[in-house]
Every structure is written in structure tokens, then in C-alpha cells.
Symmetry: C2
Subunit: 202 residues, 2 copies
């Protein structure tokens, strides 16, 4: 089990991955204002930081209920294991689709089939950071039973893969929370949307 | 129209709202590692930064299709207008439900009725920040037609309220993107979940 030893303020000059920015802007009335924000220093020429993958796992024979795959990963900023969609930073020269296929394979072992949906560039916490991402929804079709391949993790990368029935995603996330995990807000919102549509039958 | 004048690196000592932290931790194999993270300095004793509200607007007479309300707000870290759920920081001594009712009223003028769902504490971008929040789903029931009350905005707060049919939320967000707005990732994931449930009929 990972453990936080210390958390100390660090100077901007010491930081390698993120920085603080002071934004001077004029508001709707032409008045000059200031806003503080954190930025990643790793953004590539694509202009997009990261990609997340919602994989729809289905059987040609209906051998298992339509499912998705989430990951459990220790996140030092939270000091706990966080439940997230498979995700990662986009490499130089990669499209969002390519990064999604690569990350899904590395983190879960699954091979993406059809790309069902690519979101526009969306922003994760626009009051505090400029962090942005794209969500890619892919299909992973199995001839029969659900397979659980080996992830292709880098040394020092510790990720646990879990498949969850789509109709039980909200319940599974609530259970994770009760067990002391923390759920990523984007995954949680996706599950709330799924659940609301089931409740309202829209 | 607001406009960015400059964006410059700022020192940690100068920043009032956010800071950088260096986290020292031991990983799964007991190896000592470092992680960089940004944190808000405004977190209250509740331990939760913010709340977002998904309001379900419904008519007792079915005079309009079930809808929700989103806001358009200029976000300096993005340099564009961002489409988000009504949201705000939780004040000292407030519960998530109280903050949700207050923010919905201030930003949209709507009075929350029944509280349908309160998410656990979820994290907005756990690889980069410790920012956390709760999502509150509320019902706003109208006797007949959809009303559009006046928001109760603070001076210098510029927020535009838009109601959207629930079954057309994804389409509305795509249109916003095409028009040069940027969509918040949490709202976008909620809409993707709604849309996927409609497509798969789960």
C-alpha cells in the first residue's frame, strides 16, 4: 500500500510538470482583472493534454451483460486509490483516437474495435486549471465470453483493471466509495447520466 | 467580450488562491517517489471544495419536455466561455445540499425542490490537483410552463443561463463547441452517459 510521507509547498522554479500562472484580462465591462491558474508544462503541439476511454464490452452471443472497464490507481494528490476511466496524456504527433487505443491497450490489455464517439476538447476544472482532454467511446466486441487480458504496464506503473456491468455502474462506484476508494468526477458524471436516463426512461 | 491581456508565471508566494505542492510518497514496492500537484488554498473544514447541480426541470402538466439548466461563463484559465453545470465553492458550515440549493438559486434563479441524488466526494483531475466536489441532482417542478427566473448574481458576476431538453443535451453541447464555446468535462461526461443509455436502451 502506497503511503504519503510529506506534502510541502514547492517553488515554481523547482516544479517540472506543472506551474502557476497569473492571467490578466478585461471583463465584460472592460475592467481589468486578475485570475490565478495552474497549468501542465507537458502539453504537446496538439493542444490537448489527455484522453480518456469509455470502452463498451459486448458479446456477439450475449454471453455476458454489456460492460465497461475502469481502473484502480493510487493518486498521490488524493492520497488514495482513485477509480477512473483508462486514460493518459497524448503523445506528440498522436490523435486522440490513437492515444485512446494505445492507452486502453496498455492499461487494460483490451483492443479497441470501432470508435463510436470522439468528444470535442473539454476542460476538466476550468475555474482552477487549463487542463483539457477528449473522451473517446470505443467498442470491444467478443466472440463469446468476456476475456480479461493482461495489461501492458510500464515498470513502476500499478494499475488494476475491473470490468463492470453498464447497468450497474453507479452502484459499483458507490460501493467503491464505501470501501475507501475515491471516484473520478468525470467517470462519476458519466455514471450519473446513465443512471438518470434509466430512471427517467428517456 | 472579455479578453486575455497577459498570462505570466507567478511565484507561489504571490498566489492567493492556489499553490503548488511536492508530495513525497512510498509506492507499492516501498520505493520513495515524488509527485507534483496544485491545490486550492480555499478549502474549508468540510474538506470539499465545490458543488455542482444537475437540475431536472419538469412540468406537472407535461407542458414542456423534461429539461436541465446549464450556464455560460467566461473562464480566464481557458480564455473562452465555458458551458458548465451551475456550481460554486462550498462556504464554511454549509452542507453540499445547502450549497447546491444556494448556487442554483444565485446562478439561475431556480428554486430546488426535491434532492434526488447527492454524489460522494469525487475528484476533478486527480493526476494534477487535489480538487474535489460533490454533484447534487435536484428536481425543479413547475405547475405548467417552464419559467425563466432572474438569477441573483453578485456585481461583477456574468453568467448566462440556458435551459436544454434532457434528450437533446449532447446535441446542444456539440453545437456550443462548434460555436466556439468550450464544454466542461464533467457536464460532457454526464451528457455522454445519458446519450449512451438512449443508444443502447439500457
Amino acid at each position: 500500500m502506497p503511503k504519503i510521507i510529506s506534502s510541502t509547498e514547492m517553488s515554481v522554479s523547482e516544479a517540472r510538470w506543472i506551474t502557476l500562472k497569473k492571467i490578466k484580462y478585461t471583463d465584460q465591462e472592460g475592467k481589468e482583472r486578475l485570475w490565478e491558474c495552474a497549468e501542465r508544462k507537458t502539453r504537446k503541439s496538439t493542444g490537448v493534454d489527455a484522453v480518456a476511454v469509455f470502452a463498451i464490452l459486448r458479446s456477439k452471443t450475449n454471453a455476458f451483460p454489456t460492460s465497461t472497464v475502469v481502473i484502480e490507481q493510487y493518486r498521490p494528490p488524493i492520497g488514495k486509490y482513485v477509480i477512473e476511466l483508462p486514460a493518459g496524456l497524448i503523445d506528440e504527433g498522436e490523435t486522440a483516437e490513437q492515444a485512446a487505443i494505445r492507452e486502453l491497450h496498455e492499461e487494460t490489455g483490451y483492443e479497441a474495435g470501432e470508435i463510436l464517439q470522439v468528444s470535442p476538447v473539454i476542460v476538466s476544472d476550468p475555474g482552477m486549471t487549463n487542463a483539457n482532454m477528449q473522451l473517446v467511446v470505443v467498442s470491444v466486441l467478443f466472440d463469446d465470453k468476456l476475456e480479461t487480458p493482461e495489461p501492458k504496464l510500464d515498470p513502476g506503473e500499478y494499475i488494476v483493471t475491473k470490468t463492470v456491468e453498464l447497468s450497474k455502474l453507479s452502484i459499483a462506484l458507490e460501493e467503491y466509495d464505501r470501501k475507501g476508494f475515491v471516484v473520478d468526477a468525470r467517470l462519476s458524471h458519466f455514471a450519473s447520466g446513465l443512471q438518470l436516463a434509466q430512471q427517467l426512461k428517456i
